[in-house]
């Protein structure tokens, strides 16, 4: 996959004051925040479940996944519904900014310098317009946090 000059589309969003990106192919939709029902005994990152047009979907906090402090939802808060394998999960982010076209050969894959949880969640790094964008590995994240 690497080495080719092909660009892939990513959805960029903000958590804290940093920019993260998720492969657009994994994102089913972007939703506004809705009421969350807490689920007892669920993993730390899972805030609960929401009603998505009649389906019950678990939602995870990107802040908790990335090691930020929790912050109350506001008008900009969005839920990105992501799909991987049999998982269908909402990821709560501070703000969705844009769709990025990321040339795959410019991504620095395998960011060893990251510590803790980020090591699992982040799979690559790229500098776009002087701002670093961290690429999230949704399949790996879901499999490691939910198992």
């Amino acid at each position: 996959m690497s080495g080719s000059g092909q660009a892939k589309q990513y959805i960029a969003f903000e958590v804290g004051d940093e920019i993260y990106a998720v492969d657009v192919m994994l994102v089913e939709s972007i939703e506004r925040m809705s009421q969350i029902t807490r689920v007892p005994h669920s993993p730390f990152e899972v805030l609960g479940v929401i009603n998505l047009r009649g389906d019950v979907i678990p939602v995870m906090s990107a802040r908790r996944m990335l090691g930020y402090e929790e912050k109350p939802a506001d008008d900009a808060t969005r839920v990105a519904i992501v799909q991987h394998d049999e998982y269908r999960v909402g990821v709560i982010v501070d703000r969705v900014t844009e769709i990025l076209s990321i040339p795959q050969d410019r991504v620095q894959w395998g960011v060893e310098a990251l510590g803790g949880k980020r090591k699992v969640v982040i799979s690559g790094l790229i500098n776009l317009q002087d701002k670093p964008v961290m690429i999230m590995d949704i399949p790996r994240t879901l499999e490691s946090l939910l198992n």
Partner: protein
Amino acid sequence: MQVLVLSQRIGGVNLMDNAQYMELFIEESKEHLQSLNNNLLVLEQQPDNAEVINEIFRSAHTLKGMAGSMGFKFMANLAHGMENVLDRIRKGNMAVDVNIMDALFEALDVLEGLLQGIIQSGTESPLDISGIEAKLQGFVSGAGREDLDRSRRKPDDKGLSLDEHHLHVMDEAVKDGFTPYYIEVKLKESCLMKAARAFIIFKAVENFGHIIYSHPSAQDIEEEKFDLSFSVVAVCKAELDTLRKELDSISEIEGIDIRELQLDDVQSHSQSKKPKSQGASQGADKAAAPEVKDRLSRTAGRSIRVDIERLDRLMNLVSELIIVKNRIQDLQRYGDAAAMAESVEYLGRVTGELHDAVMKVRMIPIQVVFERFPRTVRDLARSTGKEVKLNITGAQTEVDRTIVDEIGEPLIHLIRNAIDHGIELPQERIALGKPPAGLVEIKAYHDGDNVVIEVSDDGRGIDTDRVLSRAIQQNLVSPEEAENLSRQEILQFIFEAGFSTAEKVTDISGRGVGMDVVKTKIESMGGVVDTDSQPNKGTRFIIRLPLTLSIIQALLVSIGQEVYAIPIGSIKEILEVFAGDIKVVHQKEFFDYRGLLIPFLQLAKVLECPDQVTSDGPVTAVIVKKGERLAALSVNGLIGQQDIVIKPLGKALSKIKIVSGATILGDGRVVLILDVNHLI
């Protein structure tokens, strides 16, 4: 025509079509394999049953055709091999014996394996079928010589065996002005490509009409499985001479014999002599009619294929309706107009009826599952050297589609156990004064809102002493505690993980995994399994499953600021509990429920509620039951009873056992459904 060209131009269309055919192919192949299985079992019992042989032949033939058109070479070849063997049997050239039955069963298993491979990967996995193919071929070539001898001895017979269908076609053709011909062709010995030459002859005949029968079969001729001569019956709109002239012009032919067929002439071969032409063919019609009708009714009664996804969508619509109903119910509290109550009542009735209707569509006879069992029992009986009779009752009992998909595996497990551990060897049984053949009974019936499935045997029963000593050995119970256990309680140990009393690990069961898997599976469907066993009388397993899986009645309770749903089915009673009724034993709270100490669980604590409400007064407790076991769950308030639609939480939260799913209330809020089985 236009459409055809168009579909060829658009690249994606073909792919989609293929996927569509694939689904159809898989469904139909499954049906044919099942029917093959059933009919082979019948054939084994009644080797002379011509109808069954024909049925089997038809299934194999259809399978061959379907697999061939999908490009599944191995399946097609194997089905063809079976077809050849069956054809010999059908024509009375070969008698059914054990070897043939075994080979046919083996071929069937390989076909099933191939189909499974196709289901999983979409393509045919290169399974080695040469062994079984050769085995089948062996029967055919052995019998083939015999066949040839026969036709030499009786040149008049010419291997012509037309069935009712052929006669009917011929009769119809005659009415439409066609003439039936019998054509026998002998090729020159020097002919190099017999199949190609035969093809040219077929083509030539087809220029004038249709070939309705050939001997050997068209497939055999195509594969050069014939000597030098072959014969066909064709209906043509041409004079005999024209036909002869046309055929004579084809080279490499030694000789051609063409003659016009008289209908009664043909019938004399297939049936006993009957009066002249018209009357005879009508007779044939009448004979054929009931058979066709019978076959039609069998097909119609069997199944209507409905895409489960479509049904699920319908199900979702119903859930939507119920959500609306709940919303109106909420409004009612504030508005309390009489009209409102009336409309709620009406809506309630509509949703109820709709629910019933949809459930009925989802319901299918459990026969689909039971159909596999005669074969399982046969194979198990053979491999264990036991004699086993299988008795199935209530196969028509309808159950939810989900249950049908899931219940097969646990039932097979119970049957294996019954035969492997339960039923004794024939000598042993005779010594015990039992009939030599053991009996395995499977029963299904409706009981209220439940479906009950029983699996019982008349074997040696479960040795409770051995179960108990094994339980002590595995530290499932202390020797002291063991003294006070009832027979029923001891039997529960067999459902513990890793428990097995089998002395030796056999091929069939007794690997120590099993009963716990059965239990888990049934519980995951919201059911319970119980057992009952008498020494030397036998063992019985009783499985109780809910009739519907998607909509349940539940009690909504508040715990702190949160709302949870508890299924009504698991609630025994609701009462007020005072502090004095609670006893603490080993740091655990117990409630004195009419002289019985049952666990008392503060749900707010168990569910780790963030804002726990404490009060000094009496608390509300919901007494829940799990089989025979009871527990008291303390809640902060009761909200009411509702029909709720169960929504799965999905894979992400599948690890959380105390919650079995969620539901959506009228205001759109998600409420979790507590799984009592895992709370206590």
